[in-house]
C-alpha cells in the first residue's frame, strides 16, 4: 500500500499578550448548568519558573460529559443574535469545553460536572505570552490505579496531575500549574 506522505503542519506561534479582548468569553468557565447539584469547582494558579504568578495565561479545558460521552456539544460561545454578545451555554447541553484566562494573581476557576466514563480527568491546554507552543496536561479528579499515564510516572511527578479535593470547601478541587522548576507540572505529548 502506498501512503501519501502527511502534509507538513502549520507551525505554532505564541498567543502573545493581547488575546484578552478576543479569546476569553463571558461565562467561559461555567460549563455546569447553573445550580446543578453535582457542580464541582476546579481552580488554581499558574506559576512561572521563578514561582511568580502568570497573570496572562489562557487555559482551555476539554472533558467527557457526566454520562461519559466525548461527543461534546455546540454552544460554548452561544450568541445573542440581536446584539452579538455571548449569552452563555443553554443550561441543557453539556459542551465539555471551558476557556478561562488567569487573573492578575495567576488564578483561574471553572465550574463543571465531573467527567463520567473511563476518562476521569479534564484535559488542559495552556497558552501564554512567552510560550511558543501550547502545553497539554491533565487534571485528574481521582487517582486511578489503572490509568496508564499515572502509573508510568514516579509519585512526585504524578502528584502534579492530581486535582486535590480542598478540605472545608464544598466540592472544590485545587489544580495549580507550574510551567518550570522543581515542582514542574507533567506536560504531555501524544505519540
Amino acid at each position: 500500500m502506498t501512503a501519501t506522505p502527511p502534509l507538513p503542519p502549520t507551525p505554532s506561534q505564541t498567543v502573545g499578550p493581547f488575546y484578552g479582548y478576543a479569546l476569553p468569553f463571558a461565562g467561559g468557565g461555567d460549563v455546569a448548568p447553573a445550580g446543578h447539584p453535582d457542580t464541582i469547582t476546579v481552580h488554581g494558579r499558574v506559576f512561572d519558573g521563578a514561582g511568580a504568578p502568570v497573570p496572562d495565561a489562557l487555559l482551555e479545558f476539554w472533558q467527557a460529559g457526566p454520562d461519559g460521552s466525548l461527543a461534546g456539544a455546540p454552544g460554548s460561545l452561544r450568541r445573542d443574535p440581536v446584539t452579538g454578545a455571548v449569552v452563555g451555554r443553554d443550561g441543557v447541553e453539556f459542551t465539555g469545553f471551558a476557556r478561562v484566562p488567569t487573573d492578575a494573581d495567576g488564578h483561574y476557576a471553572l465550574r463543571t460536572l465531573p467527567p463520567g466514563g473511563d476518562a476521569p480527568y479534564l484535559s488542559v491546554c495552556v497558552f501564554a505570552r512567552g510560550l511558543m507552543h501550547h502545553l497539554f496536561t491533565r487534571a485528574y479528579l481521582r487517582e486511578d490505579a489503572g490509568d496508564a499515564l499515572l502509573a508510568g510516572l514516579e509519585p512526585g511527578r504524578r502528584a502534579t496531575l492530581i486535582a486535590a479535593a480542598e478540605p472545608g470547601r464544598h466540592r472544590t478541587y485545587r489544580f495549580d500549574i507550574r510551567l518550570q522548576g522543581d515542582e514542574e507540572t507533567v506536560f504531555l505529548e501524544y505519540v
Binding site: 501519501t4 507551525p11 505564541t14 466525548l70 461534546g72 460554548s76 476518562a119 518550570q180
Partner: protein, 279 residues
C-alpha cells in the same frame, strides 16, 4: 543569554539619566540577531546530522525573552492512545456560536475602519489532507496603525473607534474560512531596543481532536521586518517558517474594494483515526 554582551553602547543610544549607572546595557537588535543566527545554525547542523524536521518552534527560545521562565525543562510524558483518550475527541461548535457579522471585522462599528481593506481566506486541513469542517476559527489583530484594542498596549499610535480587531467564523464543508478586515500595522514591543513585530493576524483553530489545537500567527508576504523578529524566527525550519506567510492572490482581490490573501492551514497532532492508522 547574558554571557556574551556586546561592546558598550554609544552614548547617544543610552537610555535617559533616570536609569541607574549600573543598569545592564539595553539588549540590542544585534544581540538578538546573533542569538537567532546561533539557533538557526544549530538547527541546520542537527538536520544535516539526521535530526527530524522541527515543524514547531522550540519552547525554550531565548531570543524571545518572555520564554525564559515559561517553558518546562522536563521532557513531556508520552501518552499513547486508546479510543477513550479524551484528547482524541474535542470541543465542537455550531450555528449558535457565531453571528454572520463576526467574520467581517470592518462592520462591527458605526463607521468604516481606517486602513487597507483585505480578505483573508484559506482551507483548514488535517495532515491527511482532509478538510476540517464546521470548526471554529478565531482571529485578533492590531488596527491599521499597529495598535491593539487592549489597555496594555499604550504605544503612541491611534486607536480606531471603528475597529476592534476580533473575528470568528466556522469552516464550511470544504474546510474554508474567510475574513474581511484591514491590514494590521507593524508595532513596537519591548523584547529588546527597537524591537518591531512584522504585521500579523493571530489565528486560533480547532480540529476534530483536541490534540490538533493550534494557535498561531499569519504574516504578510515580503515584510522587511521578518528577519528582525525573534517570534517568527523561533520557527527554525525555513520551509516551516514560510508556511506562516500568506500569499497575495490577485484573483481574490475585489475591484475597487479589497485585496486578497490566501493562507491554508494544516493542523498537527493525532486525530480520531490515530488508532486505526496505527500511528
Amino acid at each position: 543569554m547574558t554571557t556574551s554582551r556586546p561592546a558598550p553602547v554609544p552614548a547617544a543610544a543610552q537610555p535617559p539619566a533616570a536609569v541607574p549607572a549600573q543598569a545592564a546595557p539595553p539588549l540590542l537588535q544585534s544581540d538578538i540577531d546573533r542569538e537567532v543566527a546561533e539557533r538557526q545554525a544549530a538547527y541546520e547542523k542537527a538536520r544535516a546530522a539526521g535530526a527530524p524536521v522541527a515543524h514547531h518552534p522550540p519552547r525554550d527560545y531565548l531570543p524571545y525573552r518572555s520564554s525564559a521562565l515559561r517553558h518546562p525543562r522536563q521532557p513531556p510524558a508520552a501518552v499513547s492512545g486508546d479510543p477513550d483518550t479524551a484528547e482524541l475527541h474535542g470541543p465542537v461548535f455550531g450555528a449558535t456560536d457565531v453571528t454572520e457579522l463576526d467574520a467581517d471585522l470592518t462592520r462591527q462599528h458605526q463607521g468604516e475602519p481606517l486602513g487597507e481593506r483585505i480578505t483573508v481566506t484559506g482551507r483548514v486541513l488535517d495532515r491527511d489532507g482532509r478538510p476540517v469542517r464546521g470548526q471554529l476559527v478565531e482571529v485578533w489583530q492590531a488596527n491599521a496603525s499597529g495598535r491593539y484594542a487592549h489597555q496594555r498596549d499604550q504605544h503612541p499610535a491611534p486607536l480606531d473607534p471603528n475597529f476592534t480587531g476580533v473575528g470568528r467564523c466556522l469552516t464550511d464543508d470544504d474546510g474554508t474560512y474567510t475574513f474581511t478586515t484591514v491590514k494590521p500595522g507593524a508595532y513596537p514591543w519591548r523584547n529588546h531596543l527597537n524591537a518591531w513585530r512584522p504585521a500579523h493576524i493571530h489565528f486560533s483553530f480547532f480540529g476534530t481532536a483536541f490534540t490538533q489545537r493550534l494557535v498561531t500567527q499569519m504574516y504578510f508576504p515580503g515584510d522587511p521586518l521578518f528577519r528582525y523578529d525573534p517570534i517568527l524566527s523561533s520557527v527554525t525550519d525555513t520551509s516551516a517558517r514560510e508556511r506562516l506567510v500568506a500569499a497575495y492572490d490577485h484573483g481574490l482581490s475585489s475591484p475597487e474594494w479589497s485585496l486578497g490573501y490566501r493562507w491554508d492551514v494544516v493542523l498537527d497532532g493525532p486525530s480520531a483515526t490515530w488508532i486505526e492508522e496505527g500511528r
